[in-house]
């Protein structure tokens, strides 16, 4: 299995503070990989490095074998990597339908065209409606996205993230701030929409992590202290000590 995403010797410093301290990680195609770790471990920073939001200080990131150094987020996105954000990041003033349709434009080849009318494209309309169906927001179609409930906005964000047909999906705390039933709903949704895709997610809810992930990496103070199958990670003494013992206790 060739790697969808490969990090080697990845480092990121903000001034003197070294947030990511030499991360090596290989995520295979079709894998569901969760990154866990205590607050401030650098999980979100790692996401921001991979997606081109920040530039790394040292090391390389490659997507399907191609080095991402110096690429802008939109270029990385066009290579088939899409992400969601920890804090809901949608287009609040646009309708739900419009949100989804905008996220389809590039992948459907419309680019910056000003000679096509979006409403005339059947493929675009149907594609957006299909995504809405998948994320159960068909009924909310014509509402401004900003008025949706929190869980619905999170679902919409996942919809936007997967709409472009990217094969590597990165979700940053998709269930943060959700009730139990909402979490179940989102987990089901994630499972459904990321089928046959590579999923990389940061998540605090251990129930979600162990239920969804094929592999887990534990990030502590900018270093990955363990990577492996859920049961291996659960049994790892170092992980128990650094993080998981505490986190699992919190669950109960």
């Amino acid at each position: 299995m060739s790697a969808a995403l490969e990090l080697s010797g990845l480092t990121k410093s903000f001034g003197k503070a070294e947030i990511i301290r030499g991360v090596d990680l290989s995520i295979g195609k079709g894998e569901r990989h969760a990154i866990i770790g205590p607050n401030g471990a650098g999980k979100s920073t790692l996401f921001n490095l991979i997606t081109g939001r920040f530039a790394q200080t040292a090391g390389t990131i490659s997507l399907h074998g191609r080095n991402l150094a110096g690429l802008e987020p939109y270029q990385i996105n066009r290579m088939g990597l899409s992400r969601s954000f920890q804090i809901t990041n949608i287009f609040p003033a646009m309708t739900v339908f419009e949100n989804v349709r905008c996220s389809l434009l590039w992948s459907m080849g419309y680019k910056y065209s000003f000679w096509n009318l979006v409403s005339r494209s059947k493929a675009l309309t149907e594609g957006a409606e299909q995504i809405l169906e998948q994320i159960n927001l068909t009924a909310r179609r014509n509402l401004p996205a900003g008025v949706l409930s929190y869980a619905e906005q999170r679902a919409l964000e996942i919809g936007i993230t997967i709409a472009g047909g990217a094969d590597v999906i990165m979700l940053d705390e998709p269930t943060a701030g959700m009730s139990h039933s909402e979490t179940d709903y989102i987990v089901e949704l994630i499972r459904k929409v990321t089928e046959n895709k590579t999923l990389i997610m940061v998540e605090h809810d251990m129930g979600v992590v162990f239920g969804l992930a094929d592999y887990i990496s534990v990030l502590v103070y900018g270093e990955i202290i363990a990577t492996g199958r859920p049961e291996e990670v659960r049994g790892n003494a170092k992980v128990q000590e650094a993080y998981l013992g505490e986190a699992l206790e919190d669950e109960h």
């Binding site: 997606t51 802008e72 987020p73 939109y74 996105n77 066009r78 899409s82 992400r83 954000f85 990041n89 949608i90 287009f91 609040p92 003033a93 646009m94 339908f97 419009e98 349709r101 905008c102 996220s103 434009l105 590039w106 992948s107 419309y110 680019k111 910056y112 065209s113 000003f114 000679w115 096509n116 009318l117 979006v118 409403s119 059947k122 493929a123 309309t125 149907e126 594609g127 409606e129 299909q130 169906e133 014509n142 936007i160 472009g164 047909g165």
Partner: protein, 431 residues
């Protein structure tokens, strides 16, 4: 992906985003008929100015409303287009080139677009303060250049020409205002339609997305910068068209067409009309041109009232006049609009009297302070009186105070009626 889309066979919703032709046909008919209703020359002059401002304001709103870019120097693109057209017009005259006048604005558009591409290349990397400051700087720079590069801008007196020296276009020489009116109307319909269609294209839709959340747009495969750049370019094109029409209509362009005060006015016009709706700037341009032309005949203080209106819009109706109109849509939808009529009459008539009363006081103070010595007589609202005697002051003050009091006491009822009218009919009672 497209295969699965076909198999699900969801019904296509044609009505949801279809392009309704109705308003466009009405607009075209109005443009055709208006000169027969207002057929004196001064009305046609006002309408010419109005339609040019409409194009300019719509082009400006491509940035402000649709792209979220606040430009303080947009008169530059209109002015540049205008100056170029003026030169082309003179060139046609001097060398007898067979260039029909109606296509002249196209040159202005292309030149405006070219200049917008030049400036946009540096300014569109962000939409915030940096963009606004660059636009302001470029505006000042070009305005300053107008006295330096005399060959192009003609120095202080500007450059002028004569639109009638070209070849007649199907026998039309554009000697008469009415001929120019129809030329402007043609370009107005064409530009407005193209700008509307632009907002419905992928890049136009993404302009909205970038306005709302530039970062998210980046993670959808779009460079925010390029999206802004294309909007800027298109806006420059239509500004240039407006400039070309200005050149044809006035046959003179000066520094005034480029400077920051002209840029400020178009911001005011667009905001007054409402940036949130496509037709907002149209209303703004019409309202402002009327204020500028009709009101300025009545009072020297028209700019003061225009400023006050702008302030009131910003503070109380950030959606502008278009927002104010669209606010009433739910009430009509619920068939509750009738409930608003009486409360409106009760509040808005005294409200109007209050505003007019305050305006009268402003005029009286102005007359008292600035009229030449011995000129004590003044006329407002068809009434002539002595501005130095106490009685008119007392009368106006009392009327204004009473009207303001009535407005204030009836306002809560209006508010209640408003809430009532905007409640869906299933829950609202007959009371």
């Amino acid at each position: 992906m497209s295969d699965t889309a076909k198999t699900t066979a969801s019904p296509q919703r044609a009505g949801a985003m279809s392009l309704t032709l109705g308003p466009w046909i009405v607009a075209a008919l109005l443009l055709l008929v208006l000169p027969f209703i207002f057929d004196n020359n001064s009305s046609i002059t006002i309408m010419n100015q109005m339609w040019i401002t409409v194009i300019f304001a719509l082009a400006y709103n491509m940035l402000l409303g649709q792209g979220g870019m606040l430009s303080f120097g947009h008169a530059v693109y209109m002015g540049m287009g205008g100056f170029l057209c003026m030169h082309v017009m003179n060139y046609v005259e001097d060398f007898g080139i067979a260039l029909p006048l109606p296509v002249l604005p196209l040159f202005g558009g292309l030149f405006g677009m070219g200049f917008a591409m030049l400036i946009g290349a540096i300014s569109t990397s962000g939409a915030g303060t940096r963009f606004a400051m660059i636009s302001l700087g470029v505006g000042e720079l070009v305005a300053a250049c107008s006295v330096i590069i005399v060959a192009f801008f003609g120095g202080e007196e500007g450059i002028s020409g004569d639109r009638t020296y070209g070849l007649p276009f199907f026998g039309i020489e554009f000697l008469k205002q009415i001929e120019v009116y129809y030329l402007i109307s043609f370009w107005l319909m064409l530009s407005a339609a193209l700008m509307y269609l632009f907002s419905r294209t992928p890049v136009g839709r993404m302009a909205n997305a970038v306005r709302d959340n530039p970062e998210r747009a980046q993670f959808l495969g779009y460079s925010s910068r390029w999206v802004r750049f294309y909007s800027f370019m298109a806006s420059g094109f239509f500004c240039g068209i407006a400039g070309g029409l200005f050149a044809i209509n006035y046959e003179i362009l000066t520094e005034e067409n480029l400077n920051t005060s002209s840029s400020g006015i178009i911001l005011l016009v667009t905001f007054l009309g409402g940036v949130g709706f496509f037709f907002g700037p149209i209303i703004g341009a019409i309202a402002f041109t009327l204020l500028q032309t009709v009101l300025s005949l009545k009072t020297e203080l028209w700019a003061f009232y225009a400023g006050a209106l702008f302030l009131a819009t910003v503070m109380y109706f950030p959606g502008g006049l278009a927002g104010l109109i669209m606010m009433h849509v739910p009430a009509f939808k619920f068939r509750n609009a009738g409930k608003l009529v009486m409360p409106y009459v009760k509040t808005l008539i005294p409200g109007l009297i209050t505003v007019l009363g305050i305006a009268a006081l402003v005029e009286m103070i102005f007359h008292y302070r600035h009229a030449s010595v011995g000129d004590d007589e003044m006329t407002i609202f068809w009434t002539t009186f002595d501005s130095h005697s106490v009685v008119p002051w007392v009368i106006v003050t009392v009327i204004t105070a009473i009207a303001s009091y009535i407005t204030k006491t009836t306002a809560p009822d209006l508010k209640e009626a408003w809430g009532d009218a905007n409640t869906p009919p299933t829950t609202g009672g007959d009371a």
